[in-house]
Symmetry: C2
Subunit: 239 residues, 2 copies
DNA sequence: CGGACTATTGAGCCCTTTCAACTCGCGTGG
DNA sequence: CCACGCGAGTTGAAAGGGCTCAATAGTCCG
């Protein structure tokens, strides 16, 4: 059940067998979540964290006048809200973009495990730290990059993250976002997102269509998006 | 030396005397840093984290073509790079905006302390989690808010954070950013930042000038910036 | 007193948004 | 089995927020 999580953490650091067992013992209650379900709402107080096993999840926030901004895309193997272990009160909504499978880790149990396994604690802490590094890249994109650059960067980042959990090989990966979803990630209007996708295709860099991203020119795409994977913390090759 | 840090952490959660002593024992080597000094560079591997005692610090990143985006403003009492405890390799530059005083916590010592004090570990972890929550608000601003809204939000957030460490009272606070600095935070051009400051003044909401922000209409400013301090995690009133 | 940095203001342009119309694919119900 | 509805995608045209270029002041410090 937790293979993706383990695969991801093993990109960061060595995980011993005892630690793997401790993690496995933490996760329980596998559940299906339908596409479109908002399963955690801003302001909720959580007593457990949710691990995404399968599917795509977004964390987003709405402004009073209806504008919506996606804060982060969660992929299989990610805790969608590990930060709630320390934060308790969640500051944004969380919804399933596609049909998902999730499971849970009770905060009480995490506290027990972290008291016993200092190294594992650091790795989990690191995982929230890398979430923050991904936030920072989003800040770079929204604050300083143009529309095509943002899209190019997002394609590269998503490929890299999916590859870390064994969900991308070759030059393509499954990407179940509509153009509306995508526009809320990129901070663009839907219309302009459409034109930006076309520009990426016409430049011969990548195609984004029918639930799939296909990268045609990796070097060109990374250069356009100023993408350097260092911030993803994958010091070790995925198995 | 660590009063501001303790004040900040006490807004989050109870800190016992033993924990306070442990923290005090961690911090050493008080140093002055001159305005404009870049004291940590992207790609460095750190063996200690830096606590900001006095002054303002920015964490920023440059794009190849010269565009610069500020990722985060660090204020007194903040660790400017506690995330380097888990991340080791820093993914952005860090520089002093004003003359600063800093001190250091060796990662080895943090590891020892966190192995001994699980609750204190969670509070430090929480502190990096709240940094991430601040990142998320920046994502909202850059992705979905207009220029005036961004500035209004930033004024509110900075006031609230400074208040938590005893550096803001009444309706004003010291704010040593030039308009260039500010434009790099807000993701705007310098010229437009200037006009935006003027708009905020003409609307009678706040003045940003001569190293000081003065808030004229708190409710109006918070409404314009859609500011809700919940994400700052200050469950307890500052002393 | 000079030089460098900072702030201010005008003007024109451009990237992105908004409004709007139209197509396509798909599932459902009459 | 086809009509209908609806969400998703595509494209055109015009408006607008923010950018760039440029020139002028103000301010601080050596």
């Amino acid at each position: 059940m937790i293979e993706r999580l383990i695969a991801k953490l093993r990109c960061y650091d060595k995980i011993g067998e005892g630690e793997e067992r401790a993690l496995a013992g933490l996760i329980e209650g596998e559940t299906r979540v339908k596409r479109g379900t908002v399963f955690i709402r801003e302001g909720e107080r959580l007593t457990r964290s949710t691990l995404l096993l399968k599917g795509f999840v977004i964390r987003y926030q709405d402004l009073p006048d209806g504008r919506r901004q996606t804060l982060e895309l969660s992929l299989p193997g990610d805790f969608v809200d590990l930060h709630s272990f320390t934060l308790k009160r969640i500051d944004h909504d969380i919804a399933a973009l596609s049909d998902c499978r999730v499971a849970f880790a009770a905060h009480e149990r995490i506290a027990e495990v972290t008291a016993k396994f200092p190294h594992l604690t650091r790795v989990l802490w690191l995982s929230t730290t890398i979430d923050a590094a991904i936030h920072r890249e989003r800040i770079m994109s929204l604050g300083a990059r143009t529309a095509v650059e943002r899209l190019a960067h997002l394609c590269c980042e998503t490929y890299w993250r999916l590859r870390g959990v064994g969900l991308a090989e070759g030059d393509a990966f499954a990407f179940p976002l509509t153009q509306i979803n995508l526009s809320e990630v990129l901070g663009l209007s839907m219309v302009h997102t459409n034109r930006t996708i076309r520009e990426l295709r016409e430049r011969g860099l990548a195609t984004v269509a029918r639930g799939e991203v296909r990268i045609a020119d990796w070097d060109g795409l990374a250069a356009l998006g100023q993408f350097d994977p260092a911030y993803l913390g994958q010091h070790r090759e995925p198995r």
